[in-house]
Amino acid sequence: MMKQKTIQALNEKARAIERLAQGEAKNVEALSGPPAMPQGCTTIFDTGWETNPRPEYPVGNCQPSARDYSGCAGDCWWPAQVPDGLTNQKVFHEDCLVIAKDFRNLKYD
């Protein structure tokens, strides 16, 4: 049954917050199903700027780290270690063959 809402978002900021809450609920569902690709911007050593706004553990951690907790349960992905589509290191695979050795080659803006 749809709960009756007692609070209505009025301005654009309030609506954005409301959408965020709805979106986050979906993310939680997604994470309990098959593992999804990492979202957001992250690099190898900078674990990202998005914090986990959900009340679930680990509260306030950056999102990639938060995703590690559930992401690793599926096919043992380690999301925070994977530069995703938003990384600005376009030739990552050429510059950084072995992370531990070659990370200094990475030149971020």
Binding site: K5, T6, I7, A9, L10, K13, A14, A21, P53
Partner: protein
């Protein structure tokens, strides 16, 4: 078990329930009576575990959590300082440059903060070559900004039309070469239009603001010629000429505290003159006599409230009352834009005086504490930083406890400078007016929001994009 804490918020009771304003996000929600009562009962519980809350209240509290009014309590996280965060002007591209085209004026307005247009120095004009260079600099320093604004200001800018022309033509050429949008605006006393000037303003789509303060006796008392004698007749003739040439003009009103009880009358008079929009500014206290009494502040609020009520009545009919102060406020509330600084001064907004020196803003031109480099060497970042820091410091503590801090962020630097540094008033002197005005806007916005299809609402939404 997750514990929650209450984020800073403010409740404004209404007939249906309450308005809830999220202080740090500048978010606005309407609560029905059930939500209001539930919030009232649980507000003192901090920290709060949702599991401990009875079923009937939990739904409301979950909604408040989704609204980020109730937020997860993180024991080891450093609490965020409540005050408005300090921004760094470094790397902020230049977006608006105010050119003090003429630091002289043919009027002697009673409340002038620029000492007859000179900003405290000898009367002087910006030479056209410097004006051109300034215009190019604006574009060169505009980084990734899609649009830039050049403001032609004074003194009376039309006392130096050659520099106006030079700056406009150069800015247009540079903007067109860079593929950027250019906005041109000019603030004038409206007494010096010639057919040549009018044709230029029209052809270059310059947005014109004319300073005019209301009915003849009031206007003439505020804005006489330097040699004496009223200017009302000439200014209204100037407005008529603008209309004849098809140049839309906005009226910019400045009123001394003793005139604040005449706000609705002034507004009506100016609308009657056919201006596009009317913005009303209380005169800055450049002398102690211009510091308002509590009663006069009440007059100001009452006047603005009366205009807000009329705005609402008109809006219900789908018409927009062109009261610029309110339109600006509603636009900002609509977006819920949380401010990190009270204005753009130093953050992409700078003034350049007739000698080619940068200042934090046009009103602070000539104030050595707010000088920041020159056209030759570029804006001085260290000076900008220290000026902004010094301007923010006295209010840091005060703002940290204020619900309106992300809407106001401390108020006008110049106004604060006058009140605190020159007149020795305590910080927060303007808060008595600013807070009720913001509350008035919030309540009006919430009522207008009930009719989202209203064309006035759409205009408000568009305004904040400008």
């Amino acid at each position: 078990m997750q514990a929650y804490t209450w984020a800073d918020h403010r409740l404004f009771p209404t007939q249906e329930g309450a308005l809830l304003f999220g202080v740090d996000h500048a978010s606005l929600f309407a609560l029905d009576s059930r939500a209001r009562d539930t919030l009232g009962r649980w507000r003192s519980a901090d920290p709060l575990a949702l599991e401990d809350v009875p079923e009937e209240a939990r739904g409301v509290l979950e909604e408040l959590r989704d609204a980020q009014v109730l937020v997860p309590l993180v024991p080891h996280r450093r609490p965020r300082p409540a005050a408005v965060p300090e921004l760094d002007p470094a790397g902020v591209p230049l977006e608006t440059l105010v050119l003090e085209v003429a630091q002289t004026c043919n009027l002697r307005c009673s409340y002038c903060y620029a000492h007859g247009g000179t900003y405290g120095g000898t009367p002087r004009l910006l030479d056209p070559e410097t004006a051109r260079r300034a215009a190019r600099t604006l574009l060169e320093r505009s980084g990734d900004r899609r649009g830039v604004t050049l403001v032609l200001f004074g003194g009376e800018p039309l006392l130096n039309f050659p520099a106006v022309r030079a700056a406009v033509e150069e800015a247009e050429a540079a903007a067109s070469a860079a593929g950027k949008e250019l906005t041109l605006s000019l603030t004038t006393n409206g007494t010096l239009f010639t057919p040549e000037i009018l044709a230029f303003l029209r052809d270059h789509r310059v947005l014109v603001s004319v300073s005019i303060d209301g009915p003849p006796e009031l206007h003439d008392r505020n804005r006489p010629y330097s040699g004496g004698g009223g200017t009302y007749g000439d200014v209204t003739a100037g407005l008529a000429a603008l209309a004849q040439w098809g140049i839309p003009a906005a009226a910019r009103v400045t009123l001394a505290p003793r005139q604040w009880d005449r706000i609705p009358e002034v507004f009506d008079h100016l609308l009657g003159l056919g201006v596009r929009e009317v913005g009303i500014a209380p005169a800055s206290p450049v002398t102690p006599e211009l510091l308002p009494t509590a009663d006069q502040e009440e007059d100001l609020l009452r006047g603005f409230r009366t205009l807000a009520e009329r705005f609402e009545t008109e809006a219900r009919q789908g018409r927009c009352l062109p009261f610029a102060n309110l339109l600006d406020l509603l636009g900002r509330l609509h977006a819920g834009r949380a401010k990190g600084a009270p204005c753009g001064a130093g953050y992409g907004y700078l003034a350049l005086d007739a000698d080619g020196r940068y200042f934090l803003c046009h009103r602070l031109a000539g104030e050595e504490d707010f000088a920041a480099g020159d056209l030759e060497t570029g804006p001085d970042l260290e000076k900008l930083r220290s000026a902004l820091r010094a301007a923010a410091a006295p209010r840091r503590e005060l703002c940290a406890h204020c619900w309106a801090r992300r809407l106001c962020a401390g108020g006008c630097h110049y106004e604060n400078h006058l009140r605190e540094n020159l007149l020795g008033r305590a910080p927060g002197d303007s808060c008595r007016f600013i807070r009720p005005w913001l509350e008035l806007g919030l309540r009006l916005y919430a009522r207008l929001r009930a009719e989202p299809e209203n064309p006035v609402m759409q205009r408000i939404a568009r305004r904040q994009e400008c």
